[in-house]
Symmetry: C2
Subunit: 96 residues, 2 copies
């Protein structure tokens, strides 16, 4: 299992319709084969400046690779992520 | 539910006995009341420079607060975390 996470902040104002639309439309990622345990999260620690997170799991690297090149992922990145996300950090985990 | 995560790198050499001891001894945190779903993780994304992660969940903020001041947590932070961790980032999540 590989857990893919990304913590991020949006360019949109907190509570704005644009923010809500981005978070809603990100659910398209759940339609991609291999995406398991998809979560949309609010980042609440005061020790960093990010506002949200996504987390998902893949059974193996092949499933993760297929996700990365899936047209729905590629489109989401180019049409929504790049223009609307201010800053982000990707963190991926496997069990120790 | 609050998911408390920390991604970090150690001062120890990769694969060293000191690294393994730190990761093993961190299991003391599981003895603290309120700590649920504790995970020791290997960070595998090439898009950041951290090596490991811990993840745990608390049922609510009161449980999280109790963990923070629990003597076993306080001792682990002062005796192991501060001297052995090179850099870290805390990220906490709640469901959106």
């Amino acid at each position: 299992m590989i857990r893919h996470t990304v913590v991020f902040s949006l360019k949109h104002a907190a509570g704005s319709p644009e923010e809500q639309a981005f978070l809603r439309d990100a659910l398209v990622l759940t339609e991609i084969p291999g995406v398991e345990r998809f979560e949309r999260l609010k980042q609440v620690s005061t020790k960093n400046d990010y506002a949200f997170g996504f987390s998902m799991e893949f059974v193996d690297q092949a499933a993760y690779d297929a996700y990365n090149i899936h047209p729905k992922h590629v489109a989401f990145v180019s049409e929504r992520w790049v223009p609307e996300v201010e800053r982000f950090l990707e963190i991926d985990y496997v069990a120790l």
